[in-house]
Amino acid sequence: MKFNKALCYWPALLALGGTLLAGTAQAQSGATECIAPAKPGGGYDLTCRLAANGLQETDLIDKPMMVSYMPGGIGAVAYNHVNGVRKDDPNLIVAASTGAAVNLALGKFGQYDADEVRWLGALGADYGAIVVKADAPWQNLEELMTDLQTDPGEIVFGAGGTVGSQDWMKAALTAKAADISPRDLRYVAFEGGGESLAALLGNHIQVFTGDLSELSSQLESGKVRVLAALSEERLEGPYADIPTAAEQGYDVQWPIWRGYYMGPEVSDEAYQAWVDKLKTLSEKEKFAELREARGLFPMARFGDDFDGYVKDQVAQFKQLAEEVGLTQ
């Protein structure tokens, strides 16, 4: 019964295994690392893996990039960590997105603002979408906007984030484009896009301000209608038939970029090396495949260009938040 005896000690064995798993996270100090400021499986995980898999498969790094998770504070914990502990780590990049910019604008990242880190670049983007159920009375954005203007209280918007989150911003900006105060908007916050879609299909909300990539299956089955894509230009592939909001006369754009930042005291050489690496990566054919598999559209902004882009965005969100009284 040697086997049985060994199994008696399973907690010890498991503990050892667990420690080793966690230990690998600390061991490879020379290798590059990407922090996903969330739990495994979400959008930040995807952002980190896009860089990790891409750089690895195109041989731009020789050792595999490690992806570690630092959930907490909708990204604030990681932001503070990079600003406080790993200010100058040349091997560390952190995943970020439009959502992080919104939180920075609202002052949810504590004492730090957007100037505290070095914005590196974005490798891909998703776009917001105005979605209604397939049997809804509105055929285009204008019809919806007209009804919204006559009675904003009758049309309920919903999405997967709180008031003030990037999901809410899409609804608020859409309302603003129709000269409706975002404060009059009836908005319901769900937990994630899936729940919001379910609420849309069940007629509990009338308009869902979601992201295009999470809609692909719904589009195919014909259960929903996308009234407008919040992109700068018309997209390709399965989204080619969806008009942009701008085409329909409403100036609303909502790209959800997926990018990275580094610590504030990283040397210019290290920063530039990363910018070059990501730029090279974005031009590879292999990378385009990886990006598309993750439902992301092309976006390539790097270095100072990206840095300015993020800071402009944060300033714009700040202004919007003040207009609707979200910041004290």
């Binding site: 049985n4 199994l7 008696c8 000690y9 399973w10 907690p11 498991l14 503990a15 667990g18 420690t19 798993l21 966690a22 739990k39 495994p40 499986g41 995980d45 893996r49 898999n53 570690s68 998770y69 630092m70 959930p71 907490g72 504070g73 909708i74 604030a76 914990v77 503070n80 609202l106 949810k108 209280g153 309920v156 709180t162 008031v163 003030g164 989150s165 809410w168 009836r186 319901v188 916050a189 769900f190 937990e191 899936g194 729940e195 879609l197 379910a198 609420a199 299909l201 069940g202 509990h204 909300i205 990539s213 299956s217 719904q218 195919e220 089955s221 259960k223 598999a293 993750r294 979200l326």
Partner: protein, 501 residues
């Protein structure tokens, strides 16, 4: 119409996929048994691996689905043996599972829970195969108002757990609700009870909560007893290791009812294994606990949550496969896995990629049988954990708890929180509180508040929305009956009796 299933079995029975189903079941059991690593983490860890290995879509999905169902099996082990739930779905399993182990019936308890899990999962998979598209239509009819009514119903059914000390149960539930309030308010984005600490913005994580409340308080209790010379060693010698047919038959109705409840709760988007276990346990206690033996090691009290949490796991595939909407956090991650393979779940999947849809469902059948075959004979082996001396066991649990929480957050704040919650849990237990209401208040209270707020933002503050639909009205009536019947029924019956006399 079941062509896809026949094709699916063809896919799932290929040697590679059969091996993967086995591997997934084994790994899943392990992930489930380890406190801190639940099905979500297990899948998130394996998903990139499956993708890098170049497994075809159906094989990857079979592996990951095996992990998911395996984790629901594994979660019960530490619940029964150590009074520490291995994952979210196994919280209610501690209530009767651990007392059974204390009676020396750890082997039969593990066996019974394996069979219950099997029954629950099988019924749910049958339901999934036969009624998936129909159920999906019903599931979306559950909006915020209906969910709120469902939570009221769940709290009402919790009143059976009040038992001998209703005030302590109520205080426990309120404490749980208060913990659920911490973090960014879901409606307005305002921070509540965060004391300016960014670590608290996301609220207190479920894993931190259960590991603190159960594992840490258990360790403290063990330490307290270790220092007493008169301490009884607690665990009686292991008796028989196999569950008897008689015991299984005794629990058959509990299993069947709970499987049904679990499946329904699982199908609803937004509620998962933990809610399923809670509703099934409290319903079963109300229906069949005549001798007031639930909570002291009643076999039915173990069978109910186990059947329900496995049924819920299978049930949450319904909205994912038919609507492309995840029914639980875990299926949300699985959905991401499908997207990596350029497969869009939804009704089209059954016609466009039948090998994936059919293969997945077939692999659920197969994985379930594998899990039963794996778990029944090993019950006796696992039960021997109880024979491990305290000086090995206590540090062992402590290491698992610390590693589990740290790997999840890579942050010391979570560890401190876990310790604080653990000390509070220990004090509560010393004061004679049951921990189940605390955890139920935490799970249900959060859902209840969110859905109430959502319902009211839909209606613009009009309370009428809460009982407008037939579903919510039915749930309100059921909740009212639950609360009043135990008090009314004896009066009515005795009234009749005196009439006759």
């Amino acid at each position: 119409m079941f062509d896809f299933l026949i094709q699916g079995f063809g896919v799932a029975l290929s040697p590679l996929n059969l091996g993967l189903a086995f591997l997934g079941a084994l790994l899943g059991t392990l992930f489930g048994a380890l406190p801190g690593i639940g099905p979500i983490n297990g899948i998130a860890i394996l998903m990139p691996l499956a993708y890098t290995l170049g497994l075809p879509a159906e094989s990857a999905l079979i592996l990951l689905a095996g992990v998911y169902t395996g984790a629901e099996y594994g979660g019960r082990m530490s619940s029964i043996l150590l009074n520490v739930p291995g994952d979210a779905g196994a919280v209610m399993t501690t209530l009767d599972g651990h007392p059974l182990a204390k009676k020396g019936l750890a082997g039969p308890a593990l066996g019974l829970s394996a069979v219950s899990s099997f029954v629950g999962a099988t019924i749910a998979i049958l339901g999934l195969t036969l009624f998936a598209p129909l159920l999906a239509e019903v599931a979306v009819m559950f909006g915020p108002a209906e969910f709120f009514a469902l939570m009221v119903f769940a709290f009402a059914s919790m009143s059976v757990m009040m038992g001998k000390d209703p005030i302590k149960t109520a205080i426990g539930a309120v404490l749980g609700v208060m913990v659920a309030m911490v973090g960014v308010d879901s409606g307005t984005g305002v921070l509540r009870y965060t004391f300016g600490m960014a670590e608290l913005y996301d609220g207190i994580d479920f894993v931190v909560m259960i590991i603190g409340l159960f594992a840490i308080s258990e360790i403290l209790l063990m330490l307290e007893h270790a220092n007493r010379s008169d301490a009884d060693e607690g665990m009686p010698p292991l008796g028989r290791v196999m569950v008897s047919v008689k015991e299984l038959l005794f629990c058959k109705w509990a299993m069947l009812r709970s499987a049904l409840i679990g499946f329904i709760v699982g199908v609803l988007p937004g509620t998962g294994a933990s809610v399923a276990g809670a509703v099934a346990y409290t319903t079963e206690k109300r229906l069949s606990d005549k001798g007031n033996t639930f909570g002291t090691g009643d076999m039915r009290g173990l069978a109910a949550p186990e059947a329900a949490n496995n049924a819920a796991a299978a049930g949450s595939f319904v909205p994912m496969l038919t609507l492309g909407i995840p029914g639980s956090g875990t299926t949300a991650v699985l959905l991401g896995a499908l997207m990596l393979y350029n497969i869009t779940p939804g009704p089209m999947m059954f016609t466009e990629r039948p090998e994936v849809a059919g293969g997945l469902i077939a692999s659920l059948y197969i994985g379930n049988i594998v899990l039963l075959a794996l778990n029944l004979p090993l019950a006796g082996v696992f039960a021997r954990v109880l024979t491990i001396p305290r000086w090995v066991l206590v540090p062992g649990i402590a290491i698992l708890a610390f590693v589990g929480v740290y790997q999840l957050h890579s942050d010391l704040t979570a560890i401190y929180l876990m310790l604080i919650i653990g000390i509070v849990g220990y004090l509560l237990r010393k004061l004679g509180f049951s921990l189940a209401p605390v955890i139920l208040g935490y799970v249900l209270g959060g859902l209840m508040e969110d859905n109430l707020r959502r319902a009211l933002s839909i209606s613009g503050g009009d309370l009428g929305i809460l009982w407008q639909s037939g579903i919510s009205l039915g749930l309100w009536i059921a909740a009212a009956l639950l609360l009043t019947l135990p008090w009314l029924l004896p009066k009515l019956l005795s009234g009749k009796a005196t009439d006759k006399a």
